[in-house]
């Protein structure tokens, strides 16, 4: 279609008119820009030049208050406290050593400290304030303020410092903050200038480090007029900073406290997870340390004591520690077998107490054997031979797939440091790792959670939660940020046959509640909280032939670090699971004797929302429980209502 001359003319006329209008609007905008430019660069240039030269007006950063970290009920588990401190700026001080000497008359300082401060001041730029002393008493602080004229360049400041009101309870999960080091700065591209403030604190490990960006907040600024000595004369304007986001965790401060105290001085870890939402209610590694000491700058002897302690208090055993899961892994092997169809819930194997494979004899823990064992019974009695038989039929690769499906050998992403992936070994893995072929003996070991299999307590809790629900529940630690709830994902179904899951759960139930269950002593009596679980005892050492010949040595006779690890996983209530718990006690001995009672106590505390009534325990256990309780110094439960109602 050809356009007529008339149309073209009409179009041109219209465009011309509109371009003129458009041009007028654009000209107006450009004029506005030009005028603003003129106003700033010509009319007010002197003011800005003065600001720029910094002769009389300075811009000071106002550090933002760090965001609070709360437990699930709103209790503060990481907060800020008032801190009085003094900084010194070289440019304003002039003769630094004289000023320091005067300052030492007010604040006690060793010669070495004074030398360190002088060194630090020389290293930093002339305009950077350097921290001279902090955590001053009010008397010292006001005395410095009073003597200000004799102390040029010295600025007394009241600031905030991180504090952890629950001391050690959350040490591993929250981590701690500390002063910003040159190394920290070198790792950050374009570091926020606020990081260069002498008193600023940066998350070093744990959630404090992982959620640093959210917790830090935004710096404010103030314009101040200073005299020639650099003393502040007045504040011209002030723009407050913005406090970091308040992070509400899924943790329950009361439960965390109970779990930590229940683990006591053992080298141990416990994880409590809500099986429907994945919320981690407690994640405790013991022994604990006091993170407040790190915030204030830990002393040499204190630090050495932590480093040299053979129970490794600084390590977070819940996510960093990996252990052979022992018999707690049997649910994985069982479900792998059932899902592969090589057995059905009714299939039986005969256990004579050992099995001969590839010229080697693999023993069941029960020397006398278990006789005929079916799927449920295999968990109930924790029969090793059943799993040796099963492993040969199902093969390691399908066991590894099931392990990963249940959360072992995969990294669960949480805002915590150094989360271990664990190992769910298979043929390909061994080839890559050791350049060796997989042996049938490896399968047998793996089937009972020994050999190459490694899992963290977190992974064991996830496994228990997934067995309990049949869903791919993943752990989460953050419930809400600044009041905005983090949505709970609709965890997808694992795609495991419900009948098979029921078999595994029934086996775990029998472990606790049948007359011959391996952990019967640690059962819960209250029917509404009926508990299902699985014990595990994993060898740390190889039993030599000579030892075997002499007979099995009891754990008590071994040095601590060669004893077995005690493990336990469980969930409750059996009919409608709410919480899953895993407990690992390093070198604790037997899973049923050591780990199971701890797990039960923690689980009961979670279910009851506080200390449960004694009637929930079997009669034989009540005296022992009461004794344990009496030795505890529990923080009050933070949960409202629930505890009262049940108790």
């Amino acid at each position: 279609m050809r356009k007529s001359e008339r149309e073209i003319a009409e179009s041109s006329r219209l465009i011309t008119r509109r371009v003129v209008m458009l041009g007028a609007i654009q000209a107006a905008v450009v004029t506005a820009l030009g005028l603003k430019l003129r106003s700033m660069q010509i009319e007010h240039a002197d003011e800005y030049r003065m600001l720029s030269d910094g002769n009389s007006i300075k811009i000071r950063l106002l550090p933002p208050a760090r965001g609070l970290i709360l437990d699930r009920n709103g209790t503060i588990i990481a907060g800020n406290e008032q801190n009085y401190r003094v900084t010194l700026t070289r440019e304003e001080a002039g003769d630094v050593s004289t000023v320091i000497a005067r300052l030492r008359r007010i604040i006690p300082m060793t010669d070495r400290q004074a030398a360190e401060i002088l060194d630090e001041i020389r290293k930093r730029s002339a305009v950077t304030p350097v921290l001279v002393a902090d955590r001053l008493s009010w008397a010292e602080f006001s005395s410095i303020a009073l003597n200000a004229p004799a102390l040029p360049g010295v600025t007394p400041e009241a600031g905030l410092s991180r504090s952890y009101p629950r001391t050690g309870d959350f040490a591993h999960v929250l981590g701690y903050v500390g002063p910003v080091s040159d190394y920290d700065l070198s790792k950050i591209e374009n570091p926020d200038p606020v990081l260069r403030l002498p008193e600023f604190q940066l998350g070093k490990v744990g959630m404090e480090a992982k959620l640093e960006e959210a917790l830090r907040g935004k710096a404010g600024s103030r314009r101040v007029e200073v005299n020639s000595a650099g003393r502040e004369m007045r504040e011209l304007s002030r723009q407050e900073g913005q406090q970091g986001a308040t992070v509400q965790t899924t943790l329950d401060a009361g439960l965390q406290n109970f779990a930590t105290q229940r683990l006591g001085s053992e080298s141990a870890a416990a994880v409590v997870i809500d099986v429907t939402s994945g919320d981690i209610l407690a994640i405790s590694s013991s022994p604990v340390f006091d993170p407040n000491k790190f915030v204030r700058g830990i002393s040499g002897p204190d630090y050495r004591a932590l480093m040299e302690h053979d129970h490794r208090p600084l390590a977070d055993k819940t996510v960093q520690g990996v252990y052979p899961p022992g018999s707690t892994f049997k649910m994985v092997t069982l479900l792998a077998g059932l899902e592969a169809g090589v057995i059905n819930p009714g299939s039986r194997f005969y256990c004579p107490g050992y099995i001969q494979v590839a010229g080697r004899r693999f023993h069941c823990w029960s020397r006398g054997g278990h006789g005929m064992v079916d799927a449920q019974g295999s968990l109930e009695h924790s029969c090793d031979v059943y799993y040796y038989e099963l492993a040969q039929r199902v093969g390691i690769d399908r066991i590894a797939v099931m392990a990963r499906k249940l959360g072992i050998g995969v990294r669960h992403d949480l805002p915590m440091s150094a989360i271990a992936e664990g190992i769910a070994p298979d043929r390909a893995w061994k080839k890559v790792r050791y350049d060796q072929e997989w042996q049938v003996g490896d399968s047998l070991n793996a089937s009972i959670g020994q050999g190459y299999v490694l899992a963290s307590p977190l992974q064991l809790a996830v496994m228990a939660a997934r067995v309990a629900t049949g869903r791919a529940v993943a752990p989460r630690l953050v419930k809400a940020i600044d009041g905005l709830a983090e949505p709970v994902p609709d965890w997808p179904d694992l795609g495991i046959n419900p009948l098979h899951l029921r078999t595994a759960r029934a086996g775990m139930d029998a472990v606790m509640n049948s007359s011959r269950g391996t952990a019967r002593r640690a059962r819960i009596l209250a029917p509404e909280w009926r508990m299902a679980g699985k014990t595990g005892t994993s060898q740390v050492r190889n039993i030599t032939a000579a030892e075997r010949a002499r007979g099995v040595i009891s754990n008590d006779q071994l040095p601590w670090n060669r004893r077995d690890h005690a493990l336990f996983v469980c969930f409750a209530p059996y009919d409608l699971p709410r919480y899953a718990v895993s407990v690992v006690v390093e070198h604790g001995g037997g899973g049923s004797a050591v780990a199971a009672p701890i797990a039960r106590d923690i689980l009961l505390y979670a279910l009851a929302g506080g200390l449960p009534p004694l009637s929930a325990y079997p009669e034989a256990e009540r005296a022992k429980v009461q004794e344990i309780w009496s030795k505890m110094n529990l923080a009050p439960s933070t949960r409202k209502g629930e505890a009262r109602a049940k108790a």
Binding site: M1, R2, K3, E7, I8, E10, S11, S12, L14, I15, T16, R17, R18, V19, M21, L22, G23, Q26, V29, V30, A32, L33, G34, K36, L37, R38, M40, Q41, I42, H44, A45, E47, Y48, R49, L51, S52, D53, I59, L61, V127, N190, D192, P193, V194, E213, K218, A219, G220, S221, R223, Q239, G241, Q242, D482, G483, L484
Partner: protein, 380 residues
């Protein structure tokens, strides 16, 4: 109007096209880019490899692309406009989908060694589509409701997708760019008045309702709006950044502090000194004379484009040129207004000057099409 209208016989062909380029525009674009190299050299503290060098290489590539596009007959662009629009929308959808997989705002699409930012491509492609649409539409129908609705949908579709990324800045640019083409095409002024009135009333109503008992949004939605408007892109707090920028800018005075003499210690407080805040460095070192000169160079570029559009009797070419010039205008005015504290902080580059490959490339492509419109304008 088909290409027959172009009096093809009179349009220059082959290498002779080079004589018919809009050479003043070429020189102006080069001049502004050279100012950019100079400033990038200066803010890097004299390290040419840091920003200036890479930027020069990109400029060289961009110029080749610009000349190549200038040689492509303008009717080619019109014939592919619909296809390019569809492709851009599909790319935006693709980014949206991949962004979801990657769990976060993703604006890039990676195709082997090339990284494409579809929202930037869209800026050119949909100006082209709107120009083609108004070229096709008889002039007397331009203001009829149905024929106004069509381009509005054409604008809102990619805008919505960009908004979902989420990239508020680019979506505002898209709406404004599209609005300029519609305005130039002659859509009745009443429509624009109505849209402006509705937007102003809507924003006022929503913001006024905050904290009252007839609040139109939930508190958390307001919070989201807050974070949306200021997505923590400047970790210092907007106030501090802008204050520093203004000090640098104002202290330049009439003639500035001299090349590389800006108080670098202050500028080190500006994390975006080589991108969004480069204008402050220029104003500090070259003063009002330098800053105003750059503004005038921009105005000249705009003027040459608009003049070229006015003298072009081909409706498509004319509207296309106006649309690209309008987008260019938005770029530099928004950036300058931001660093001078007239608009809330929002990441936007200074065109042809800020460090960054995508925006430079898209701008030079845009100017290539403007040149093509100029070279192939109907004659006689």
């Amino acid at each position: 109007m088909s290409y027959l209208n172009y009096h093809v016989a009179q349009v220059p062909t082959g290498w002779r096209k080079i004589l018919h380029l809009n050479w003043p525009l070429v020189f102006l674009v080069t001049a502004v880019s050279c100012i950019g190299f100079l400033m990038l050299y200066s803010v890097s503290g004299g390290d040419i490899d840091r920003w200036a060098g890479p930027q020069m290489q990109r400029f060289a590539v961009g110029m080749v692309v610009m000349f190549a596009l200038a040689f492509v007959p303008i009717w080619f662009w019109r014939s592919i406009s619909v296809a390019s629009y569809v492709i851009c929308v599909l790319l935006l959808v693709l980014v949206e989908v991949m962004g979801h997989v990657g769990m976060g705002a993703q604006r890039w699409l990676v195709l082997g060694p090339i990284r494409i930012q579809p929202s930037e491509l869209t800026k050119v492609a949909f100006v082209m589509t709107l120009a083609a649409y108004y070229d096709w539409l008889p002039v007397e129908k331009v203001s009829r409701p149905f024929w106004v609705l069509v381009p509005v949908v054409l604008i809102l579709l990619p805008t919505g997708l960009v908004l979902m990324q989420p990239d508020l800045g680019t979506s505002i640019m898209l709406v404004a760019g599209g609005g300029i083409v519609m305005f130039a095409a002659g859509v009745s002024l009443w429509y624009f008045a109505a849209v402006i009135a509705i937007v102003v009333a809507g924003i006022t109503a929503v913001m006024e309702s905050r904290g009252t008992d007839w609040q139109l949004l939930h508190d958390y939605q307001f919070k989201r709006i807050d974070t949306f408007l200021d997505p923590g892109s400047d970790p210092l707090g907007a106030g501090y950044n802008i204050a520093q920028a203004q000090i640098a800018l104002g202290s330049g005075g009439w003639s500035g502090r001299g090349f590389m003499q800006g108080t670098q210690s202050r500028l080190n407080f500006l994390p975006e000194k080589h991108t969004d805040f480069i204008f402050t460095s220029l104003a500090e070192e070259f003063g009002f004379v330098g800053a105003f000169s750059l503004l005038m160079l921009y105005v000249l570029i705009l003027g040459f484009c608009l003049y070229s559009a006015l003298t072009n009797r081909d409706r498509f070419a004319s509207l296309m040129t106006i649309g690209i010039a309008g987008t260019f205008f938005l770029y530099f005015s928004i950036n300058m207004a931001t660093v001078m504290g007239m608009l809330p902080a929002k990441g936007s580059p200074l065109p042809l000057v800020s460090y960054g490959g995508t925006s430079l490339m898209i701008l030079l492509m845009g100017f290539g099409i403007v040149q093509s419109a100029h070279v192939h304008r109907p004659r006689g």
